[in-house]
């Protein structure tokens, strides 16, 4: 954590954002994971919009093609440009007996979980993540708010190592 006074940070520069708060960036490959996940969500929507356009708008004699074009353009923009930005705003820091996870820019949340308060830990890997050799770490606390804290975009080995680190701390503090 830095004590430097708040200075204007370029919100579009991942390094600047994370460096200003003393955070490590997540694996850039996570952008690909997010991109594919977003595509899987949006392409069916775009197809749906096209079908709607073809069936209904043409039927009632509206301006055919407008909705289809807009849907695909928006989907393309969101799929191409948003994931890398979102990834650049994820940051984490492990150490000093605590895990720190920050995410988002418009609505930024910076969560700290002391290792002592961790109930149990999951390391998960979805099919897309497996493709890129990534994992996500889920930390469970007993708090009602933040009962799970998820940190995605970690190299599988790193996630396992973090899990071991946290687990060791849980054990040492249990006496």
């Amino acid at each position: 954590m830095t004590d430097t006074p708040a200075h204007p940070t370029d919100p579009f520069d991942a390094e600047a954002l994370n460096a200003a708060e003393g955070l490590d960036p997540v694996n850039p490959a996570y952008a690909q994971v997010l991109r594919i996940a977003t595509a899987l969500n949006l392409i069916p929507l775009a197809i749906g919009a096209s079908v709607f356009d073809a069936l209904l708008i043409r039927h009632i004699g509206g301006p055919y093609g407008l909705i289809t074009a807009a849907a695909w353009v928006i989907a393309a923009i969101v799929i191409v440009s948003f994931p890398s930005r979102r990834v650049s705003r994820w940051g984490y820091k492990i150490g000093e007996g605590q895990l720190r996870v920050a995410r988002g820019w418009l609505f930024r949340t910076d969560t700290i979980v002391p290792f002592v308060r961790v109930q149990h830990i999951d390391v998960g890997q979805g099919p897309i993540e497996r493709w890129f050799g990534l994992s996500h770490l889920i930390v469970h606390t007993s708090g009602t708010h933040n009962s799970t804290v998820t940190l995605p975009g970690l190299h599988a080995d790193l996630a396992a190592a973090m899990r071991e680190t946290i687990r060791r701390h849980i054990q040492t503090d249990f006496a």
């Binding site: 609505f107 930024r108 949340t109 910076d110 308060r117």
Partner: protein, 510 residues
Amino acid sequence: MSDVAAARPATPATDFGDEPDWQRLHPATLALAIVKLGPRSLNFLPAVAALGFTGNWVYIVPAIGAFLLFSLLAAWFQWLRFRFLVGDDEVVIESGVFARQHRTIPFDRIQDVSIEQGLVSRALGIAKVGFETGAGGKENDASLDAIALDSAQALRTTIRAHRSGEAAAPVVADAPEAPPATEDRLLFAMGPRQLLIAGLFNFSLAALAVVGAGMQFFDGLLPFDFNVFDPRDWIDIAEDYGLDQWLLAHRWIAGVGAALSLIFIGFASGIATMFFANWGFRLTREPRALRRTRGLTTRTDVAVPVKRVQAAILVTGWFRQRFGWHELRLQSLASDGGKENDHQVVPFAKLDAIDPVLDEVAIRRPDAGQSWQRSHGIVALGGLIGAVGATIGGLVAVSFGQNLGWFGPALGLLIGAGSLFGARFHRWADLGEQVAIRRGAWKPKTTLLPHASVQSVDLKSDFILRPLGLATLVFGVPGGSSLGAHEIPAIPLAAALDLRTRILAARARS
């Protein structure tokens, strides 16, 4: 009855014989099932109505009979297939008619044993025993519904004795009725007089709304055609007594009558709810827990383990505050019944009566001289947006010719003013070992949160707070509602960072 009376689990059951002594629920539970049929038969009403409308009147009585028979048979089967076993250090419950469920609960994992008695249960001398295990979700908690009251109390004593015996010598006392080492101390009790005062302050507009809505709804059904909220009805009444001429000249009398009845209903419902909920209120300190018994018809007996208490919440009202009346709730891992998330341990008392209770859970109340820090006025923004939304919505409705739409701007004005006013009451103070958060003008609420209860801290900022150099702190605390997380909204970033560091440095609450 007799085998349930043998619920004293002190008898080492497994020594002789291979069949442990399984017990059943109290047979009177079946009587309870009949009572529960009442509300449930409402589901049956549409079917009866359908039969009636189609003219098949003859089938109604057989249909109802079949329904009753089937329900009773189901209840009986359930009773037959439900058995439980109190072992030396665990409770085993087997249930289910077709799909069997076998559940083992070690005494060590039972945080809290609650005993609840409804009106009918009290007449039958039975009680529902709930085991709070701290497992997530209400439906995960096991309960015995219902067993004889004395065996319920014996069961609880056994489990408590087991828990407090962990640290002590492992002598298994074979008399679970043996009183614990330190006797229970009475911390707080409410007599009828105090309940009456509390009830007067409990003036409830909510109940009024319900009564009003009910009167509107059942207007056509009531045997008498009278609506206390309608001044015209008062005029009608007056007519019967020949007062109408006089009344027409003095219309305000009718208004006063309506207002008086409103006030009367408000007070009466406040007093009634207070008496029903808190009759015979007693809060005692037991070796490990605070124990609360209360209730007029439904009597509940709940223990809050002191070490499980996560935070204390002091609630008051804008009016009762002037007289120094407060309510104390404790946020614990276990939740309090179905509706409340926090345990109400002092419903209505002056602060000097609350302090001893707070002492027991090692939470300190900020004194009058405490200097509070304020949240930024930007916290009113949410309310203001809501107000604008209501205004726009209302005006749109008006533009469509719906005159009721004028409620929108009026409501918006109220919401806006309320949120602007209320924003001034968001305050917080760090008391060293705990942080105090205060909010609300209409219903001031002070949360006393020990640093050690905090499991995680969120530092949130967004595109509005960031340019102002502000941040919101949200604390992850066990127990309580998942909707109402404890937070300090819109405080200077530096103060937020500093507070976060100090809170995270605290050691776990033992």
